[in-house]
């Protein structure tokens, strides 16, 4: 792994830890009222805004890289090329 990889790894883990801590400590205090979801309801604000692109890309990365999955349920297949 390159130095860039190591730096990114540290940054990524910090991001994730921060998000986990933020999520765990104050879930009950976070959020909006049911009538305040106007922006959240907009197209493009879904956690996965384009499932079709995700599915196609995951299949491509599955056949080009060794580390895949984790974004949801993956399909099978061998990706033998």
């Amino acid at each position: 792994m390159t130095w860039l990889g190591k730096t990114l790894r540290a940054a990524g883990l910090m991001l994730l830890t921060g998000a986990l801590l933020g999520g765990a400590t104050g879930c009950a205090n976070l959020g909006v009222k049911p009538w305040e979801r106007d922006l959240l309801a907009e197209p493009g604000m879904e956690i996965d805004p384009d499932v079709v692109i995700t599915a196609l890309d995951e299949h491509i990365y599955f056949s080009k890289e060794a580390s895949t999955g984790g974004l949801g349920t993956a399909g099978g297949g061998c990706g033998c090329n």
Binding site: E42, V52, G70, G77, C78, N81
Partner: protein
């Protein structure tokens, strides 16, 4: 008094469907690597919401690919001759060239369907089935999920499980690992029967609305893969410890991967509304007991022009560390490792994707998207362990690909 009814505005797309409605997403994608693989993929993804809150979804994926694929054998200062996987025919690779099997072609059809049903206003249960078939590969699977909303739907917890059973019956059979590639016309030593493998995925997810414009999602997936995971078409060169050229006899051995693989994946994503535009940032950490780990970052910026028109630049970067048993080649005279593969996909690599998607509303609320992406993957071209002539050659040639996609989404309302 207060009756519990599903179909109150959920935070994820599906939560809103409360009357008979069908949404269909279609896309066709072209993928091309100069000198290597060309592929076409088509997808139809449909969701039908019943007026009782149940949602049926199905997905059909077709893909066809042809072209040349790296065999794992190393380049050499000599011309090399390889027997085709079927045992009939052979192909020659010029000195200094990366050995590619240029007869690679496959067609895959995958179908999945599932049903999501509300158990009450805040709980959903879903299950689905998956099946895919290729010329030499069949995969069957089932999945289930339970999601529950808390805190006025600001918090959603999901539990997921999936199981797949795959079988492979490659042309020319499954070679006995670490046996030598035979000359043309001579049958290779084969494992009996089809290869099979099972995959079990377990996942837990948390989605949390932070404020009026921000949602975060965290996901952990455990995956357990068992039995035959070796690629029957991949091999390793056994090279002379001094010259680095293939040894005189039995110079190419079929690869051998462990039978058990346990993966852990942590995934986090933030969606943030900036008033007009929307940004998504995600990070994935992957690690497995093969020694592979990777860090993947993904960033999209949806630049909204109004009227449903947008431009969405995309950037993805992935940094992968090699499997413990990854070798660019084996050395003559040294003891065979327990497992070995020269598959470049199991090696150290960095991959970069950049792309642009344009979306616009056409007709009666239908959406048309066009996407162009460029993918480039590079690794250690000159590893320190390279011997003799191998020091002169690129042992991880850069792979790049162009991806073009057209998508069309439409609703069939009651």
């Amino acid at each position: 008094m207060r009756s519990a009814i599903i179909g109150a505005c959920g935070m994820l797309g599906l939560g809103g469907a409360t009357a008979e409605a069908t949404e269909v997403k279609t896309a066709i994608l072209g993928y091309t690597e100069p000198d290597r693989v060309t592929a076409i993929e088509a997808i139809v993804d449909g969701q039908h919401a019943f007026d009782n809150g149940k949602i049926f979804n199905f997905r059909l994926v077709y893909d066809a690919l042809t072209g040349a694929s790296a065999t794992g054998a190393a380049p050499s200062s000599l011309a090399q001759t390889f027997t085709r996987p079927s045992g009939e025919g052979s192909y020659r690779v010029a000195p200094g060239e990366t050995p590619l099997d240029d007869t690679f072609r496959d067609t895959r059809m995958a179908l999945s369907a599932g049903l999501t049903m509300p158990l009450n206003r805040v709980t959903n249960f879903s299950f689905g089935l998956y099946g895919s078939g290729e010329y030499d590969y069949v995969s069957l699977g089932a999945n289930t999920a339970l999601t529950r909303d808390f805190n006025q739907k600001n918090t959603t917890v999901a539990l997921r499980g999936a199981f797949f059973s795959d079988s492979i019956s490659p042309e020319g059979g499954r070679p006995v690992p670490f046996t030598a590639m035979p000359d043309e016309g001579i049958e290779k030593a084969q494992l009996s029967g089809d290869g099979s493998k099972t995959v079990m995925d377990l996942g837990v997810g948390l989605t949390q609305v932070l404020n009026r414009s921000t949602v975060v999602h965290l996901n952990y997936t455990y995956s357990d893969v068992n039995d035959y995971q070796t690629d029957p078409f991949k091999m390793l060169s056994v090279v002379d410890p001094v010259t680095g050229d293939p040894r005189g006899a039995d110079a190419y051995l079929y690869e051998n991967r462990p039978d058990a693989r346990t993966k852990h994946v942590l995934f986090g994503r933030v969606a943030k509304h900036l008033g007009r535009d929307i940004v998504h940032l995600s990070y994935r950490y992957f690690t497995d007991n093969w020694g592979i780990d990777s860090h993947t970052f993904d960033l999209t910026y949806r630049w909204n022009f109004g009227g449903g028109k947008y431009l969405k630049p995309h950037l993805r970067y992935s940094d992968q560390g090699a499997a413990d048993f990854h070798r660019s080649f084996l050395v003559d005279g040294e003891a065979l490792p327990e497992h070995a593969s020269a598959d470049y996909r199991l090696g150290d690599m960095q991959a970069l994707t950049y792309g642009l998607t344009h979306g616009r509303i056409v007709g009666d609320g239908h959406e048309l998207t066009v996407r162009l992406e460029y993918y480039v993957q590079s690794g250690d071209s000159h590893p320190a362990e390279a011997i003799g002539v191998l020091q002169n050659y690129d042992l991880f040639p850069t792979v790049d690909a162009l991806i073009f996609q057209v998508g069309y989404t439409f609703d069939l309302m009651e």
